[in-house]
Amino acid sequence: MTRFFGTIVILGLTAIPAAAQDTKKEIQKYQQMIAEGSPVELFELEGETLWKKPQGPHNVSLEKCDLGQGAGVLKGAYARLPRYFKDADRVMDLETRLLHCMTTLQGRSRDEATKRVFGNENQPSEMEYLSAYVAGQSRGVKLAAGNSHPKEKEAYELGKALFFHRAGGWDMSCASCHGEDNKRIRMQELPVLHKPQAARPIMATWPAYRVSNSQFKTMQWRINDCYRQMRYPEPKFASEATIALITYLTVTAAGEPYRGPGTKR
C-alpha cells in the first residue's frame, strides 16, 4: 500500500488543552468536506460500464442478473440485501450474488471470478466497481435486509454470535472495538454496531471510497480487513460467516435510507 511520501507520518502535535470538543468538531468538518469532494461517482460510472459489458464464455453482460427484485432490476435492490435467494437456496449479500450471476449468467468459473476480489489504488477490482454502481442505485431507499425466511433468521443469529465471539491472536471479537459507546481508535470514533442508532449511518454509507488509500472498498473487504486486524486467519470470500455478519449488521440498521456509496477517511 502506498502512502503519501512512503511512510506513515508520525507527528508530535502540540496538545490543545480542553480542546477535545473542538477537535471532534474539526474532524467532523473534515469528514463532511471530504464527502463533498469525493470522487466516488467515478467508480459508479466505471461499474455501470462493467455491468453492461459482455464477458465470460457466454459473452453476456450482467444486465439480466437478478439481485432480488427481478432480472435486471437495480433500483432499490442493494437496500434489500442480504436476502434469501431461492435459486441458490442460501442467503446472499451483494458480492455473493454478483458472483452467482458471473458464474450462472456469464458462465465464468468461480476461481476466475474470485481471483482478484479486492483491488488496489492502481487497479480496483471488478467487484468494487460493480458494488459502487449497484449500491448507488439504492440511494434514498430504506435498508431492509431479509429477516423473515428461516435461513435469513439463521444468518442473523450466526452473525450476532460471530460479532461477540472472542478468538484470534489478540483475543478479540468485533465487540472489542465496536461494543462500547464513545470509544476511539486513534482519532477514529467507533460505532457500537450492535445498536441500531449507531449501525444505521454506517451501513447506509457502505460500500465506500477510502481517502486514506484512494480505494473503493466493499462490505466483504470491510469484514475481511477487520478480521485481519483482529489477528484471525482470513475469512473466505462470500462465505456463510461473512454473509451472516453482513446480515446481522444490515438488519440492525434497518429503516435507514441508503445514501452511499460513502466516503471515509
Partner: protein, 195 residues
C-alpha cells in the same frame, strides 16, 4: 503452542449456556490460514471461551482461578525492567505484528490505538484508560515495574476479559520490547511523565 490453562470442571457449567449456533465449527469451515495467521487461532482457549460465553462478565471465582493460570505464563526478567523509553515510544506508535500480512516477528505495541501516553501525541485512542503521567503518579519502584511488565506481557492475568491483547504471551512483543514500553511508562525522563 498455546497451553490451555484452565479448569475443565469450572468451565463445564458455563458451556451449557452457549448459544445454539456452533461458531467454532463455522470458523473452521469459513476461514483459511494465511501467512502467519494459522487456523489454530480460531480454536478458542479457556479464557476466550469463558469471556465469549459470559459476555466478558465471568463469575468471580472462575475469573480468579483463570487469572492465576495466566499469571503463570509471565516470565519476569531479573533486574530493572525499565528499558529505553525512546524505543518504547516507537513501539507504542507502531501497529504491526501478528496479522496475516505482517512478517513473523515484526511486532509493535499498537498502544496509541487505545491509550493516551505522551501528551504530544494527540492522535490516541480511548478504548483503554489514559496513561498520561502514569509513572509520575504511581512511582517506578520494583513492584510497579513488575506490574507494568506483567500487564503488557499478559493483561489477562490481571483482568480476565480485558480487551487488551496478551502482547508478550501472543508473541507480538519480545521481552526487550516490553521493557522499553515499561520505560516509556515509568522513566521520569519519558514524555509520558514530563510536565
Amino acid at each position: 503452542m498455546r497451553t490451555l490453562l484452565f479448569s475443565a470442571v469450572l468451565l463445564s457449567g458455563i458451556a451449557c449456556a452457549q448459544s445454539p449456533v456452533d461458531v467454532q465449527k463455522v470458523l473452521q469451515r469459513d476461514f483459511q490460514a494465511r501467512g502467519q495467521a494459522t487456523m489454530e487461532r480460531v480454536v478458542q482457549d479457556g479464557l476466550q471461551r469463558v469471556c465469549t460465553d459470559t459476555h466478558d462478565r465471568p463469575p468471580s471465582e472462575l475469573a480468579r482461578q483463570l487469572e492465576a493460570d495466566q499469571m503463570k505464563t509471565i516470565d519476569f526478567p531479573q533486574g530493572s525492567l525499565i528499558g529505553d523509553w525512546k524505543r518504547g515510544e516507537r513501539i507504542a506508535q507502531g501497529g504491526r505484528g501478528l496479522t496475516w500480512n505482517d512478517k513473523p516477528g515484526a511486532g509493535e505495541g499498537s498502544c496509541y490505538n487505545c491509550h493516551q501516553l505522551a501528551p504530544q501525541e494527540m492522535s490516541h485512542g480511548t478504548i483503554g484508560p489514559t496513561l498520561l503521567r502514569f509513572g509520575w503518579m504511581r512511582g517506578n519502584g520494583p513492584e510497579m515495574q513488575r506490574y507494568v511488565y506483567g500487564k503488557i506481557y499478559n493483561a489477562k492475568a490481571y483482568n480476565l476479559c480485558s480487551q487488551m491483547p496478551r502482547l508478550g504471551y501472543s508473541g507480538t512483543l519480545t521481552s526487550e520490547q516490553i521493557k522499553d514500553l515499561v520505560g516509556l511508562l515509568l522513566d521520569p525522563e519519558s514524555p509520558v511523565n514530563k510536565q
